[in-house]
Amino acid sequence: MSATAHHLLEIRRYYINFLLKLFAFGQKKVERKRVGKDQDDSETSFSEFDQPSLSFEQPRALGIDEDNKGFHMDHVLEYVTAGMASIMEDNVTKYFEPEELPMWNLLSRTNDRAYEFVSARLTVCWMVGFVVRYALLFPIRLIILTLGIPLFWLCMIIVGVFPNGQFKRWLNRKLVIFCFDFIAGSLSLVATFHNTENAPKRGIAVANHTSPIDSVVLATHNYYDMVGQKHSGLMGIFMRALSHASTHIWFERSDEKDRSSVVERLKERVNSPDLPPILIFPEGVCVNNTSVMQFKKGTFEIASVIHPIAIRFDARFGDAFWWQDKFHHYILHMMTSWAIVCNVWYLPPMTRYPEESAIAFANRVKAKIARQGGMIDLSWDGFLKAQPPKKEWLRQQQQEFARHLQVDNTEEEDQWSTKDKDE
């Protein structure tokens, strides 16, 4: 069983390498055309490193010149420019959109710039690719998926029959990993696991979150109980199946009571050494895999030992980031991509320092994961995807600006009042 899987993995790797050569060919063609269009950027004296921008972590007044006291009408300039710069590109919403690729990967979905008209050969490549993906790969993957789901259910029911105990856990582990590996074939998943000696056997594991299949990827190699938002539809099917065999925690995010019960159940688990490791995604939302956003502190308050895991997808072959509205659109998108390629790093367990707060611990773990996966470490809260930023942050910016004015202002006032006296 594992031998055939290994053999298949080899085939998948050859496939990946072939695709890379194809992309490089495409890129050469695109660049040749591009050079004609753009003229050279003529010189300016503008230094782009000094471009004004608002800092969220440490609010700082923009444009204040310490030598020039008091308010000047040019104080607004940098705030306006910072605003315009954020309209052109901002450091938050770009992480909620699919990753920008350095080269075109022959999929029309990443084709913003009419690449298919660049050269006849490229167009042919794209068309052939299209036919291969939709007429060959997609049906095969669909078959695997339709076989996989009932198989999965069957396995979970079988495990559910047995009484709780060591055998059940062993069986659960073996069958779940097998099933997930099977289903992973429906996405042509090529995952490379690094540092497997650090793979957790119990306790709490945290990872960065890009898509629902993060769990699938991790589960093809190691067994976890899961925590997550209740879903309906296809995902709900999986969730209910899983619950037959082991104690997963599914909750309703909008329900306050449900959320606090999650915390309780997690606390119970931390204290039971027999139970399998539980997998948590502390960002709370899917982000596009080029950055790691703020980790919610809940998990880090409960546990003092955490097993970090970093997942990085290679978006050239297929972007796993979930931005589509409907889950089945997302699955369709994934099953007609070239492949889903990713790297998983198991990091050594991290322990909270005696005086360290949960937030500081969370940030430390986040920084480690971000560095390992080559992602940017951001302090922005992933929930900004759906909610506007707190008014508090605007007030902080105002406060900083006022502070600088105030100090200068009182000095100025004294100056004016003495002047009045003289007159």
Binding site: H75, Y79, P388, Q398
Partner: protein, 189 residues
């Protein structure tokens, strides 16, 4: 980027925009991509909400005023792509070897002037100055102090004694300001 259908910007549009604003074709394409991703309603125009959904803009004290600059040109509370690019063009760095139509020093200053001059009467009144000051400092400085700041600012800049600041007086007051540095953005390709 990958979530909207094919490019709806024609070659001719790109050339027109290039000659009007000085942006390179690749910069225009990129701005178009940004425009469509901000356009959550997918109707080819941006509303005020679309702009303020950008967190870094929402926490900017002058956020509302900045957004307003885009809507000044449009009649129906929606900004199309041409208007979008035209406003952003003011923030292109000044190129020594090119004809800078929208981003010359005077144009940038005029844009800054309009940040204050809400009623578009070519003069910044004390009330208009106070309005901007209020946006910048929130509740952190008392009205009295803001009043005296506003008065002093007008006193210093007002040359013709009409208690308001005209565009010429504004430019004069900002004579020593490095407008290019403070009002330029690197536009990505």
């Amino acid at each position: 980027m990958g979530n909207k259908s094919s490019l709806m910007l024609q070659e001719q549009d790109i050339r027109d925009i290039q000659s009007e604003t000085g942006f390179l074709p690749s910069q225009i394409e990129r701005l178009y991509s940004r425009f469509t991703s901000l356009d959550k309603g997918d109707n080819g125009t941006l509303s005020r909400e679309d702009f303020l959904r950008i967190p870094e803009l929402a926490i900017n004290p002058l956020g509302d005023r900045i957004v307003h600059a885009f809507f000044k040109e449009s009649e129906d509370d929606h900004v199309n792509f041409r208007q979008f690019v035209r406003v952003l063009a003011h923030f292109r760095p000044i190129k020594r070897t090119q004809d800078n139509k929208l981003n010359a020093r005077e144009e940038k200053l005029r844009f800054a002037f309009k940040m204050y001059d809400l009623d578009d009467d070519e003069r910044i009144s004390r009330e208009e100055l106070l309005a901007v000051l209020h946006m910048m400092v929130g509740e952190n400085i008392s009205d009295d102090q803001l009043n005296s700041i506003a008065e002093r600012t007008i006193l210093e800049a007002d040359k013709d004694g009409d208690q308001m600041i005209s565009f010429e007086e504004f430019c004069c007051a900002l004579e020593r300001t490095d407008v290019e540095q403070k009002m330029s953005i690197k536009f990505l390709k």
